[in-house]
Amino acid sequence: MSSPRRVLYMSSPIGLGHARRDVAIARELRALVPGVEIDWLAQHPVTRVLEAEGERVHPASRHLANESSHIESESAEHDLHCFQAWRRMDEILVANYMVFHDLVRQERYDLWIGDEAWEIDYYLHEHPTEKRAHYAWLTDFVGWLPMDDGGAHEAHLTADYNGEMVGHIAAHPDVRDCALFVGNPEDIVPDALGPDLPLIRDWTERNFDFAGYVTGFDAERFADRERLRAELGYRPDERVCIVTVGGSGVGEHLLRKVMAAFGEAKQRVPDLRMIVVAGPRIDPATLPQADGLQICLYVHDLYLHLAACDLAVVQGGLTTAMELTAAGRPFIYFPLAHHFEQNFHVHHRLERYGAGRRLDFETSEPEDIAAAIEEEIGREVSYRPVERDGARRAAERLAEVLA
């Protein structure tokens, strides 16, 4: 009798989106490869999702240095220079790679999966002899991009990192047994990876398979929206606006600004019910209270609430925005200043889907937000449909590698 196939899954803790889609992919992988055992090397807040889903978090995970804390320490108001924050995370990435290095010398796995597990991908390419299992890489964006105010220096740096990635893949094509882009070729920005480097889309099409978007949930759950609203306790005579900033502690300033708009929004939309989801890393007790304003800690099935709401106000992170797109709900999003992924990659993708209304945090006053809430709440939308089989397609590709 052959021993069960074993998978080590690493899911980036920066944003909660990876966790949800990775759980969905793992579920599909189990259906395709009966008996497969999946361990997770992961940290808070991903572990919160994994534990709620009954997944096995490997005990070595306790040794991981926390990336979310670092990202939070790098943020200011509604501003996160995520490229520089990521660069300055270098010692955390080395430390966490070494946790992985030790673990895979103690335990045999047949497949390592890294969903934006930057340290794994980087050091495996730096030292291909480290590889001792099949390896699959997942990401929903390719290419560091400079912000306009970073000038020539930042453009030089992003191109240098992109160039290193291109060189790694060219020099060691056997490290990744599979590279999956979570999305479609049209989701990719038209930019180049840098001067004298390929266009991002061309390069990605040559080096990745496309899984389509992975929503991480079963859209059948909210096919009957009226019923879902009733299940979640939302009354027919109220219009629900959910304000949420994802899994890191970075979004507190946005929460506060939208909460400051609540009074005027309530005047404009008398049946408004505003629910603020602080997330697992913001203490709700530190937020201002107001009559009619409901503040929650973490909501496990947030996607269901988003599917049931009449409007969402969110950061510019990909997962939440795409959950709203898939559910066909109107939403307002505020990309974090200096966050190239939210400002370029996510924005490009949402434009393609015709989804969301973008507002600028810095220049939007509470009255502007209140007016936008009035205009958007309950609006009928006609977004490009989001595929529902992304998790399955990703799992099929992983199962091929594992076979």
């Binding site: 040794h63 240095a65 804390s69 670092h70 320490s73 790098e74 660069r87 300055r88 995370m89 270098d90 010692e91 955390i92 080395v94 430390a95 966490n96 790679y97 070494m98 946790v99 290095h101 050091y123 730096e126 030292h127 480290e130 740096l157 240098d160 990192y161 160039g163 290193e164 060189g167």
Partner: protein
């Protein structure tokens, strides 16, 4: 944010110079990461500390002249013997009876002194790209060696290694020097870090460190190696543009140590290729310096123990 914060920090004071140290973890053995030239400080071990603290016990300290340590003005305060004595004082202050000592570049000199004078306390020594007077330097650099206090006609290349230039061109020198340390492509972050550390001190302090007494002759190195008794590992980048790889190879020969040359790597393999270096260092500690496992306590109780 740091990947791991120290479990304990403190200062030792030697002749009025405060020396700042940090201790991480409480395993065994202790690995003492020595300071190198004071153009950088103990954060240069940032890619090692979290990993080795998880397995062993780690002690680092800032060199006099940078970081949180004192900055005496006189060159004599920067004698190699002073750095070696600082290491002994830090070991005493942290209750470190023995430590595997790991040094980089100029840190090799103080490590040799330490290992030669206190062989009973140093069960192993690891040298990264050692800067000791063996095997020579590149002709480009040799041209300006020993001319640190001289007024030069040029400020190009290694002529920047000059106290007069530092008075107004210190930052340019630091950037030049760090560019020579990291000759590998795609080293922007390592260079940025190192330049930042270099700018935490000042040209006058750093000038004093250059003028302090150091190990000047090949014979002195050979004498010290003769006195050493511990296992040695030398790791040297084969593309090192600051101290040629031949130095490391020769140091390994004269100490009877193991030599690992890293193709395509410059003067700071522990920062530019940390996974590779950490693996080499871990292997060395496991082979040479791991304390034998404590014999298991006898099981079963003696008669009468339960009464």
């Amino acid at each position: 944010m740091r990947a791991r914060e120290p479990d304990e920090t403190g200062y030792v004071n030697r002749d009025g110079v405060p020396i700042y140290w940090e201790r991480f973890g409480d395993g065994s053995p202790t690995v003492l990461f020595m300071p190198t030239w004071s153009i950088v400080h103990s954060r240069c071990w940032k890619a090692q500390v979290p990993y080795f603290a998880r397995h062993y016990r780690v002690v680092v300290f800032d060199p006099r002249g940078n970081g949180h340590s004192g900055r005496p003005a006189e060159p004599d305060a920067y004698a190699e013997t002073e750095f070696a004595a600082d290491a002994v004082a830090v070991m005493d202050a942290t209750d470190t009876e023995q430590a595997v000592v790991v040094s980089w570049s100029k840190g090799a000199q103080r490590s040799l002194l330490l290992a030669a004078e206190h062989p009973e306390r140093i069960p192993g020594a690891v040298f990264i790209c050692p800067a000791v007077p063996l095997a020579g330097v590149s002709p480009e650099r040799a041209r300006y060696m020993g001319r640190f206090t001289e007024r030069l006609e040029t400020t190009a290349g290694w002529a920047k290694w000059n106290m007069h230039y530092w008075e107004h061109g210190y930052r340019d020198f630091v950037e030049f020097f760090m560019g020579k340390i990291f000759t590998e492509r795609h080293s922007t972050k390592q260079i940025e870090d190192a330049v930042g550390w270099g700018l935490e001190t000042d040209p006058s302090t750093l000038g004093a460190t250059v003028l302090g007494p150091y190990i000047e002759t090949r014979e002195d190195v050979l004498d010290l190696c003769e006195q050493m008794s511990c296992p040695v590992l030398v790791v040297h980048g084969e593309e090192d543009a600051v101290r040629p790889v031949e130095i490391g190879r020769e140091l390994a020969e004269v100490t009877g140590g193991e030599f690992v040359g890293l193709p395509g790597v410059g003067h700071a393999p522990h920062l530019r290729k940390p996974v590779l270096f950490n693996t080499l260092l871990k292997g060395f500690v496991e082979r040479e310096a791991r304390a034998p496992p404590v014999a298991a306590a006898p099981t079963g109780s003696k008669e009468g123990d339960s009464q």
